[in-house]
C-alpha cells in the first residue's frame, strides 16, 4: 500500500475520529467525573475481593462458553461452506436469528421450550411417567453456557465460513497428491489458512461472553455475577459509581490484553494466493460419512437454534389461556388476537406505538448502523491490513468498544452529548451512532481477514496496467471482499435491530424500537401483554430474517448467481 499516497491516509482518519469522538471522549468524561473526587480521598474505597471475584467468574464462563461455541460452530461452518444440501440457505439464515433476540425474549423462548413446564419437559414427563420435570436448566450455570452458545455460534458460522468458502481446494488436492494424509492436509494447509478467521471469531465470541449482561442476570440468576452485571449493580442500584468505574476499567484493561494477545498470534504466515475470491467449493455429500455428517449437523443446528425460535413463534399464535389453572374448558387454538391487539391502544396511553411504527424506527436505525459501521469498518480494515507497524498497533483501539461497560458508556453519553445538536430535534441520532460503536469491531474483524487475503500480485498487475486505484478496488478487491462485506452488513444490521440497552437509554418513549416495545409489554402482568410481547418478538424475527435475506441478495453487476 505504499503507493496509496497521503489522501488515502487521510481517509483512515475518519473511523479513528469517529471512535475518538463518540467512544473515547464520553468514556474519559465519565471516568474523570467518577474518579476526580477519589483522587483526593485515597484508594481505600474498595476491597480487592470486589474485583477478583466477578473477574474470575467472568473469565471462566467466557472461556468455557467460547470453547463450546467453537466446538459447535466450526463443524457447522464447515457444513454450510462445503456441502450443498436441501434447505442449506434457509437453515443458514435461521442460524443468524438467535443473534438478534433480546435476552428477555430468549429467556422466554427457553422457558417455553425447556422450562419446568416447557413442552420438552411435558413430553418427557408424559413419556416416562415422571412426576417432576427431568430437565432443570433454567437459573443455572448451564443456562448461561447454553445461551452463550445459542447467541454466538452464528458468529463462528459467518466469519469462519466466509474464509472457508474462499479456501482454494486445489491446495488440499495438491497436498493429497503429494502424499499427505487428510489430517496432515488439514493441520498444515487448511488450518493455518483459516486460523486468522478462527481466532478473529473466537476473540469476538470471547469478548461477547466476557461482557455478558442480560444472559447472566436473567438466565443464570442472582447467584452469578459477571463484571458487567456487577458494574450495573454498583452503578444503578447501589449508586456507588467509583466501584462501578473501577470495575469497568478492569473490564477494559482485560479486553485490551485479550485483543493484544490475539493480535500476536494472528500473523498470516502463508502466501495470500491461497485465499482467493469465493470459489464454487460447494459439493453434494457423496460418501456415507459425508452424508451422515450433513444429516447430523443439520439436525444439531436445527435443534439448537430453530426449536427455541419455533416454540416462541408458535406460542405467539396459540392461546392457552382458558386452560390456565384448569378452570373451565381447555381451549387451545390458533389465534391472531395478540397481533391484532398490538394495533390497539386500549388504555389510550400517550406512549402507545403502532407495531409498524416500531418496525420503521428499528429499520431506520439499523440501516443507518449498517452503512456507518460497514463503511467505517472497511476503511479501518484497509488501514489495519497495510504493513505499517504503527497502524497495525491501532487495531485494539477498534476492538475496545466491545469491552466497554454499557452502563458506564451510557452515562458518559448522557453527560457528554446532553446538549445541542445531539439532543435537539426529534431524531435520536445517538442510537445509530451507539449501535455503530457496537457493530464496528464486527465489521473490522469480518473484513480484515478478507482484505489480508487479497493477492498483492493481482492488484499490482492491475496497477501496472494503468488502472486507477478506484478501479482496482472495484474490479480486484470488491469481488474478493463481497462475501465479507455482505457478512459485515448483515451483522451490523442485526446487531442494531436486536439491541436493547442503548436503545432504551437513548430513545424517546414515543418512538420505541421493536425490542423496547417488547420489553414494555413483558414488564406488565396479564395474558394479553405476554402474548403481545411474543407477537412483537416474532415480528422482530421476521424483520430480521427479511432484512438478512435481502442483504444476501446483493450481487455485483455481472456476477453469476450460484
Amino acid at each position: 500500500m505504499n503507493r496509496s499516497g497521503s489522501r488515502t491516509w487521510l481517509l483512515w482518519l475518519i473511523p479513528l475520529a469517529f471512535l475518538l469522538f463518540f467512544f473515547y471522549q464520553p468514556l474519559l468524561v465519565i471516568f474523570r467525573q467518577v474518579f476526580s473526587e477519589r483522587f483526593n480521598q485515597g484508594w481505600q474505597f474498595f476491597s480487592w475481593e470486589q474485583v477478583t471475584r466477578p473477574l474470575g467468574f467472568t473469565l471462566w464462563q467466557a472461556f468455557l462458553s467460547t470453547l463450546l461455541t467453537l466446538l459447535i460452530g466450526l463443524p457447522a461452518a464447515y457444513l454450510f461452506a462445503r456441502f450443498d444440501f436441501p434447505g442449506r440457505k434457509g437453515l443458514r439464515a435461521l442460524s443468524l436469528l438467535p443473534f438478534i433476540l433480546p435476552t428477555v425474549v430468549v429467556a422466554t423462548a427457553f422457558n417455553t421450550l425447556i422450562g419446568p413446564r416447557g413442552w420438552l419437559n411435558v413430553i418427557l414427563m408424559n413419556l416416562f411417567n415422571l412426576s417432576s420435570a427431568p430437565i432443570n436448566l433454567l437459573n443455572s450455570f448451564s443456562a448461561i453456557l447454553l445461551a452463550h452458545v445459542f447467541y454466538n455460534t452464528s458468529i463462528v458460522i459467518r466469519m469462519v465460513g466466509s474464509s472457508l468458502a474462499r479456501l482454494n481446494p486445489h491446495y488440499d488436492e495438491a497436498a493429497g497428491v503429494l502424499g499427505a494424509n487428510p489430517w496432515r492436509v488439514f493441520k498444515e494447509v487448511s488450518l493455518p489458512l483459516l486460523m486468522p478467521s478462527i481466532l478473529g471469531a473466537s476473540l469476538l465470541v470471547f469478548l461477547f461472553d466476557f461482557t455478558s449482561f442480560g444472559v447472566v442476570l436473567m438466565l443464570g440468576g442472582p447467584q452469578f455475577a459477571t463484571l458487567e452485571v456487577e458494574i450495573y449493580n454498583q452503578a444503578m442500584n447501589r449508586l456507588n459509581l467509583p466501584v462501578a468505574g473501577l470495575l469497568s476499567v478492569v473490564q477494559l484493561a482485560f479486553t485490551l490484553i485479550i485483543t493484544l494477545l490475539q493480535n500476536r498470534v494472528n500473523n498470516p504466515r502463508y502466501g495470500k494466493a491461497a485465499l482467493g475470491s469465493e470459489r464454487k467449493t460447494l459439493m453434494k455429500p457423496k460418501t456415507k460419512l459425508q452424508k451422515l455428517y450433513v444429516v447430523l449437523l443439520s439436525l444439531l443446528v436445527l435443534i439448537l437454534f430453530v426449536t427455541p425460535i419455533l416454540s416462541l413463534i408458535s406460542r405467539s399464535l396459540v392461546t392457552f389461556d382458558a386452560a390456565r389453572g384448569e378452570r373451565g374448558e381447555v381451549e387451545t387454538g390458533l389465534t391472531f388476537r395478540y397481533y391484532t391487539e398490538l394495533f390497539q391502544n386500549r388504555s389510550g396511553s400517550v406512549f402507545y406505538a403502532n407495531p409498524l411504527a416500531a418496525v420503521r424506527n428499528s429499520l431506520v436505525f439499523s440501516v443507518l448502523t449498517m452503512l456507518i459501521a460497514t463503511s467505517m469498518g472497511l476503511i479501518a480494515a484497509y488501514a489495519l491490513a497495510s504493513s505499517g507497524k504503527f497502524i497495525r498497533w491501532l487495531e485494539p483501539l477498534f476492538m475496545l468498544p466491545l469491552g466497554a461497560s454499557a452502563v458506564i458508556l451510557g452515562l458518559g453519553f448522557l453527560i457528554t452529548f446532553n446538549k445541542a445538536p445531539w439532543t435537539s430535534g426529534a431524531f435520536p441520532i445517538m442510537i445509530p451512532i451507539a449501535h455503530s460503536l457496537i457493530a464496528l469491531p464486527f465489521a473490522v474483524r469480518t473484513l480484515l481477514p478478507a482484505i489480508r487475503g487479497i493477492p498483492i500480485s493481482l492488484r499490482e498487475a492491475a496497477l501496472v496496467m494503468g488502472a486507477k486505484p478506484w478501479r482496482v478496488f472495484r474490479e480486484v478487491d470488491l469481488p474478493i471482499l463481497l462475501r465479507a462485506i455482505i457478512a459485515s452488513l448483515a451483522f451490523s444490521f442485526t446487531i442494531s435491530l436486536g439491541e436493547f440497552g442503548a436503545s432504551s437509554f437513548l430513545s424517546s418513549p414515543q418512538t420505541p424500537t421493536i425490542p423496547v416495545l417488547i420489553y414494555r409489554y413483558i414488564s406488565q402482568p396479564g395474558a394479553l401483554n405476554y402474548g403481545q410481547a411474543l407477537a412483537m418478538s416474532t415480528l422482530l424475527l421476521v424483520t430480521s430474517a427479511a432484512g438478512s435475506l435481502l442483504i444476501e441478495k446483493i450481487r455485483l453487476p455481472g456476477e453469476e448467481l450460484f
Binding site: A107, T108, N139, Y232, L239, A426, S504, P509
Partner: protein, 351 residues
C-alpha cells in the same frame, strides 16, 4: 449497488425530515420518570394546549436508574436534564433529598391529600400515587390442592409451602427490595435474617428481576412456571383481569394482604433545582394532583391515586385488594442501611 445505496439514503433522508417538528415558539417542559410511567394521550394534549407547552418525557430505566441518572447529570451542569422528576419512591426518598435535587413547592389541593403520604414535610417532593408490593398467588393451585393460604410471613416458613414462593433479588429489582424491607419492618433489624434463613431452608426460589419471576417462575401467569406464589404488586391481579385474553369473571391470581405481608410504595414528584421553567413545572405538579390525572393513573400504571376523591374504574376495584395495614420504615433509616442490608441478604441467600 451504488444506485441502491443512494436510493436507500434518499428514503432515509425523507423519513428523517418527516420526523422533524415544525418550529414555533412553543416552550418545552421535560419530565424524567421511570419506565412504568404512562398517561392518557388525551390528558397530555389537553395540558399542552392549555399551557402552550410541549411535554417531553424521558424514561430513565427503573426508579433507581432514573434517580442516579439525574444525580449524575445535575452534578455536571447548571441546568438540569429535566424540569420535573416523577416516580421517586419512599425507598429512595432520603437519598434523593440528600442530593439537593429539588426546589420546594406546595401545590394547590395538597390539603386534600391524607397526611400518611406526606413523607417530606418540607415539600421538596409531593406524593402522587401509591401501590403495595405483596405476594400474588395462583388461585387454582391452592383451591385444587386444598392447601390453606399462608396468613403471615411466618407461615411461609412452614413445610407445606416448601418451594412454592419465588422472590426477586433486592439488589437488582425494586419489588424485591420492597419485599426485603417489608421483612425488616415485620421482624425487626435483629431477626429478619432468621426468617430469610428459614426461607432458604424452605427452598425459596430467587431470580434477578420481576419479569423472570412473574412470567418464567410464577404458575398463575401465562408463563406457567413452577411456583404458585410470587412477589409482585397488589394491583397485578387487576391487570390479569383487564389484560386477559378472554373475558374472565375473576382474576386467576390474588394477593396475600394479611398484616405485615405488604410493603407500601409511595411515589413522589418534584421540581428540579434551577429549572428555567419553574412556572410550567408548578402547573405540571398541580396537574398531577388534579382529579383527571389521579383518575387516569390506575388504568395506566396500575397504582392507586393519593387523592381520596378520585374515583377508581370498576374493573380495577373488582380485582384489587387494599391491605388494611402495611409495613413501612423510616426513610432515613432505609437510606442509612440499604446497602448493608442488601449485602447481608446476599451473603445469606446467594452463597
Amino acid at each position: 449497488m451504488i444506485k441502491k445505496i443512494f436510493y436507500i439514503l434518499f428514503v432515509l433522508v425523507l423519513l428523517i425530515s418527516a420526523c422533524q417538528p415544525t418550529a414555533n415558539d412553543v416552550r418545552t417542559l421535560t419530565i424524567i420518570t421511570h419506565d412504568s410511567f404512562s398517561v392518557s394521550a388525551e390528558l397530555v394534549s389537553g395540558f399542552e394546549e392549555e399551557n402552550n407547552v410541549r411535554l417531553v418525557f424521558i424514561q430513565g430505566g427503573d426508579t433507581g436508574s432514573a434517580l442516579n441518572r439525574l444525580i449524575l447529570t445535575s452534578v455536571n451542569s447548571k441546568t438540569p436534564e429535566a424540569d420535573v422528576f416523577y416516580g421517586l419512591d419512599n425507598t429512595f426518598l432520603s437519598r434523593a433529598l440528600e442530593q439537593n435535587l429539588f426546589e420546594p413547592y406546595q401545590p394547590e389541593g395538597l390539603e386534600n391529600i391524607p397526611d400518611e403520604f406526606k413523607l417530606d414535610p418540607e415539600f421538596f417532593v409531593v406524593p402522587i400515587d401509591f401501590g403495595d408490593v405483596c405476594i400474588n398467588y395462583d388461585r387454582a393451585y391452592f383451591s385444587e390442592r386444598n392447601i390453606e393460604l399462608p396468613r403471615s410471613l411466618q407461615d411461609l416458613t412452614k413445610p407445606e409451602y416448601e418451594g412454592l414462593l419465588v422472590v426477586e433479588n433486592p439488589a437488582t429489582s425494586s419489588p424485591g427490595l420492597a419485599f426485603m424491607l417489608a421483612t425488616i419492618a415485620e421482624f425487626g433489624e435483629d431477626a429478619w435474617l432468621d426468617w430469610w434463613q428459614a426461607m432458604k431452608v424452605n427452598q425459596v426460589a430467587i431470580v434477578s428481576d420481576w419479569e423472570t419471576a412473574y412470567y418464567n417462575n410464577f404458575s398463575g401467569s401465562s408463563g406457567k412456571g413452577p411456583q404458585p406464589m410470587v412477589v409482585s404488586y397488589a394491583s397485578s391481579p387487576a391487570a390479569e383481569l383487564i389484560y386477559a385474553e378472554t373475558a374472565l369473571s375473576e382474576s386467576p391470581t390474588a394477593s396475600l394482604i394479611a398484616p405485615g405481608m405488604c410493603w407500601r410504595q409511595v411515589e413522589f414528584a418534584g421540581i428540579l433545582n434551577n429549572t428555567p421553567n419553574r412556572d410550567l413545572a408548578e402547573k405540571f405538579i398541580d396537574f398531577l394532583l388534579s382529579k383527571e390525572f389521579q383518575e387516569d393513573m390506575p388504568m395506566q400504571m396500575f397504582v392507586f391515586p393519593v387523592l381520596p376523591a378520585a374515583e377508581l374504574p370498576e374493573d380495577f376495584i373488582t380485582a384489587s385488594q387494599l391491605p388494611e395495614t402495611v409495613s413501612s420504615l423510616n426513610s432515613a433509616l432505609i437510606a442509612a442501611h440499604r446497602d448493608a442490608w442488601i449485602n447481608e441478604w446476599a451473603n445469606l441467600m446467594l452463597k
